[in-house]
Structure formats: structure tokens, C-alpha cells
């Protein structure tokens, strides 16, 4: 008898994968972008199921609120809305399909037979441990990522800035 949790997992993962497939196979780039939203949301759902509420929130904030918006902007900026083609055609797919399938099958077979470090799972909020970790053990990465972000900001500006006369 599947528990509620199981059902939730099944539902969310099916949704995630379906929208991922939408991203991959959709013929229009805008559709892909919207499918991506589903994937991101699905992933956030999975995070919740995995008791990582903080990550789930971050996911929604950054991915949906940041990246996805960026992507949609990019799509808009680089295509005329009315462009029927709104090109998202595929190349290589005759070979890519078997490749991707092979990768999936190999990974699934290897991973499901793998030996992973497992302890009793527990559903506790991760916010506190994450907060502690970020300011103690992971202080350095936390600082560095700020430099990376700074660099990315500067760089993005450099790249899109208009030609200096």
C-alpha cells in the first residue's frame, strides 16, 4: 500500500521528468522555457520531500525567480515574438537519442546497484544546520562565492556593454 509520501514522490517526480522532457523535446524555445519552470518547481518539490525546505525555497527563489527569468528575457531579447519559427530545432537527434538513452540506462543500472552511505532518514528542518555550516565549516566557500558572483556581474556587464567609443 503506497503511503502518501510515496504517492507524492511519484507525482512530483513524474511531473519533474515530464516537464524536463518538455524542455528537451519541445519545438519552440519558449515552450521549453516554460517547461523548465515545471522542472524547477518539481525539483523544489523533491527537495521538500527530502526534508530540505531551505534548499527548496532557494531553488524557487533563485532558479525560478532568477535564472528562469533571465532565460525568458534572453529568449525574448533574441527573438522576435512573432517569429513563427522561434527556433528550437534539433540537430543530431538521430544519434543523440541512443546516446542519451544509453547514458540513462547505464547510470540507472549502476546507481541502483551502488552501495551508498545510508543512515536512518529523519525529517528535521535543515535550516539551522545549514546556517551553522555556512558560517563555520563552509565560511571560505561562502566568501569565495561572493567573489565569483562579483566577477560574474562585472563580466556580464563587460560583455553586454555597448562598444566604447
Amino acid at each position: 500500500m503506497p503511503s502518501l509520501q510515496d504517492l507524492a514522490f511519484l507525482g512530483i517526480s513524474a511531473f519533474t521528468l515530464a516537464s524536463a522532457a518538455g524542455v528537451a523535446f519541445s519545438r519552440k524555445v519558449l515552450y521549453s522555457a516554460f517547461s523548465l519552470l515545471g522542472t524547477f518547481a518539481g525539483a523544489a518539490g523533491l527537495f521538500v520531500l527530502l526534508s530540505s525546505d531551505f534548499i527548496a525555497v532557494t531553488q524557487v527563489l533563485i532558479y525560478v525567480g532568477g535564472i528562469l527569468v533571465l532565460i525568458v528575457f534572453a529568449v525574448m531579447l533574441t527573438n522576435k515574438i512573432g517569429d513563427v519559427k522561434l527556433s528550437n530545432q534539433s540537430v543530431n537527434y538521430k544519434v543523440a537519442v541512443p546516446f542519451a538513452a544509453a547514458i540513462a540506462i547505464l547510470l540507472i543500472s549502476i546507481l541502483t546497484s551502488g552501495m551508498w552511505v545510508q543512515k536512518d532518514e529523519a525529517y528535521t528542518s535543515m535550516i539551522v544546520p545549514i546556517g551553522n555550516a555556512l558560517l563555520q565549516d563552509y565560511l571560505l566557500p561562502f566568501e569565495i562565492v561572493s567573489i565569483v558572483l562579483l566577477g560574474a556581474l562585472v563580466g556580464a556587464m563587460v560583455i553586454v556593454r555597448r562598444e566604447v567609443k
Binding site: S3, L46, S52, I62, Y63, S87, I108, G114, W116, V145
Partner: protein, 101 residues
Amino acid sequence: MVSLNSYLVVTAILFALGLYNVMTRKNAVGLLMGVELILNAASINFVAFSHFNGNHVGGNVFSLFLIVLAAAEAAVALAIVVSLYKQFGTINADEADSLKG
């Protein structure tokens, strides 16, 4: 009882879909979406491993960083795409082939 393996199957498929995407898309933005799929797969993996390892904090932190870095990368990548488009009017990655050989 949802096992770790169920999550692994999901991420494996997600990963493969991401790879498929980057192999086939013509549109540079489309390609970037593939990258995001892959990163999401990795992210879910981290959290899942973390969860099934007694809520080990490392995986969570890693996935947090993954998300942030993905954002940074996406920003730069999209900047490049936009700039290329502004200069040359296309973002079809397969047309960017003046470098080859």
C-alpha cells in the same frame, strides 16, 4: 517507502535528458536549459544523498552552492548570448562556426 534508488533513477533520467538537450539544440538558450537540467539532477542527488545519510549537512550546502553558481554561470552565459545576438543577429549555436577545423 521511497528509497534512495528511486531518487537516483529520477536524477539519472534528468541527467540524460539534459545531455540530450545539449547535444541536439540549435538555440544557444536551449542549450543552456540543458545545462540547467543537468545541474538540477546533480542538485537533487546531493540533497537525496544528504537526506538518506541522516540529513548530513554537506550535501545540502553543496546543492545550495550549486544553485548559486548556476545563477552566476547563467548570467554570464546569457550575457554572451545576448551580446552575440546583438552583434550578429542570431543565437543559433550551430551557426557560430567560423572557428573550426
